[in-house]
């Protein structure tokens, strides 16, 4: 296969797929090329390093997931119902992972954040940008909930948006550890409590 942009896309797709299952350290360039059906020489034509491909793969994954988040969170529905639907979509993604791959993969971004967090500044910066966008999206919904009279101002903050996502990431960690997506059924009541509790 030549050095077409199709090869580039295949490498990005293969990296996403492999890293979703097994993280960063366990995956090598040779395996990514094999999965993509692209020669190793071509890899370095498109990407300087595994790190450079990883950044592109994370951006590609978030382009898809972020669009789904915006579709769920950007409706005119009751704001807290939108958040509840986001929680349900996260649970469904882990159910699907278990059905299709036999195991709960967890969150690609969370997995790489904990594996690489303080070791790779470039990947960390990319992940931070993705999580910042997630926090912004949830923060917008919290502000909508406040305007609708469903949330006090002191909970409609960026800090509480981060706490909502922390609950998602933490419960996904337990679901992965137990290989049991059913654990995520309680996610919304927990987050609703966190937002409404006094």
């Amino acid at each position: 296969m030549g050095r077409t942009s199709e090869s580039r896309e295949k490498l990005i797709g293969a990296a996403c797929e492999l890293m979703r299952g097994r993280g960063y350290g366990a995956i090598g360039v040779a395996e990514i090329c094999e999965r993509a059906g692209v020669r190793k020489g071509s890899f370095y034509y498109f990407f300087e390093s595994k790190q450079a491909l990883t950044v592109e793969a994370l951006r590609a994954a978030w382009a898809v997931e972020g669009a789904a988040w915006r579709a769920i969170l950007g409706t005119a529905e009751d704001p807290l119902r939108r958040l509840e639907r986001l929680c349900r979509s996260q649970a469904e993604a882990q159910h699907r992972s278990k059905r299709e791959a036999g195991s709960v993969h967890g969150c690609l971004f969370g997995n790489l954040a904990l594996e690489l967090g303080n070791q790779d500044e470039v990947v960390r910066g990319c992940l931070k940008g993705i999580f910042d966008e997630q926090v912004d999206l949830v923060h917008e919904v919290l502000l909508d909930a406040h305007r609708a009279g469903d949330l006090p101002a002191e909970r409609a903050t960026r800090a509480y948006a981060r706490a909502v996502l922390a609950q998602v990431e933490g419960m996904v960690l337990f679901a992965k550890l137990d290989n049991e997506p059913v654990l995520l059924e309680g996610l919304w009541p927990q987050i609703a409590g966190l937002l409404r509790g006094v």
Copy 2:
């Protein structure tokens, strides 16, 4: 150095230290031996594999951390104050990591759970045992809080104990991602909300 039990302890200590900073995949047996000052031949006298050492290192780390958790959670103090103190100790551990190592290391157990979760059944089983003990310890405190009239029965459950720890793990993930332990200052109010919210 001979094949003394001191060498074994040194290997466990070195593995803990290195994995706390850089996870599992990025660390090799040679580096662990070098850090411990133990010859590679001796490594395989004590441990069958890196996996076997990792299980011992996780158990050793939890023996120390678990004792600290018990000291905090097992007092006669107001139950929810004990949980608040646990949150503060988690924040302090990440402040210390940043002060001493220059970066927020996060939680050794959470890091390895997300890096290895669905790839290594032996390490996963070990981590699951550690998190199960953590859930039990927090559950006991929630039951105490219920008996003291501070928590309704439907929140004094194992599921809510897990939800408390999920908030801890999730916020530690954000602190690691931002390399900013100050993010953990809000941990207790968030967990108190989660427990008391309706």
